[in-house]
Amino acid sequence: MRIPILKLHDYLLVSIQVELDDQSAMEFQEDLLKKIHNSGATGVVIDLTSVEVIDSFIAKVLGDVVSMADLMGAKVVFTGVQPAVSMTLIELGIYLKEVPTALDLEQGLIKLRQELEEK
């Protein structure tokens, strides 16, 4: 199952609505990097509202997405991380420190614009 990636001006928008298995997480990583490359997008918002489990593998994939996108000149913001998911991540021992987050898609877009203007 591929995760749809939408383009809006210079940004890419992704809402993860499916249960992420390892395979689809890896495919998503690849698809997103290709799309950044092909579209020249400068920012990406990834909405995680529907994601109920982020384990160490998925956390690593998401963290890698941020670093890889950064190398390609695109800033990533995560939105909608559920409280239960963020608590679980910390207890698991995973700190996504470098990763900007925002409450929802709208706030995510605002944050992206701010981050990009600071450059």
């Binding site: 489990v53 384990d55 956390a59 698991l92 021992g93």
Partner: protein, 134 residues
């Protein structure tokens, strides 16, 4: 009193998702709140992935523990793989032989209330329990 709820075989990658969904459903049934459901599902995901990656096949068992005043969900991850050579090393944060974040087993221990691991060259059994809050 222990009651077996179900058992999920781990053979292919998708079974990791299947096991954590089954576990979350049992957690919901037993009355765990949403944060505990996430803790339980995440712990199962780590244990099931370890089976898939390091032992290839195994199974995850779910049991209900009736105690007073709370109810427990007991999860047993069992495989006949090569086992873990140095369990004490593995239980330290930051240890991984697979390039992972190394939060796996120590993380599982933090997410659950009880944790036990037994590993020999004939296989590994990890047993964890979460109790409902009263």
């Amino acid at each position: 009193m222990n009651e077996t709820l179900s058992s999920v075989p781990i053979r292919k990658e998708w079974d990791i998702v299947g096991a954590r969904q089954t576990g979350r459903n049992w957690a919901k049934d037993l009355g765990f709140g949403s944060v505990d459901q996430a803790r339980i599902a995440t712990a199962i995901s780590e244990l099931a992935r370890n089976i898939y990656l390091y032992a290839k096949v195994g199974e995850i068992n779910f049991e209900r523990l009736d105690s007073v005043p709370s109810i427990g969900l007991k999860i047993t991850a069992r495989d006949q793989g090569p086992g873990i050579k140095e369990v004490s090393k593995v239980m330290k944060d930051g240890y991984s032989t697979s390039g992972g974040l190394g939060a796996g087993l120590p993380g599982v221990k933090r997410l659950m209330d009880e944790f036990d691991i037994e590993s020999t060259d004939a296989g590994t059994v990890v047993t964890v329990i979460k109790w409902t809050r009263i």
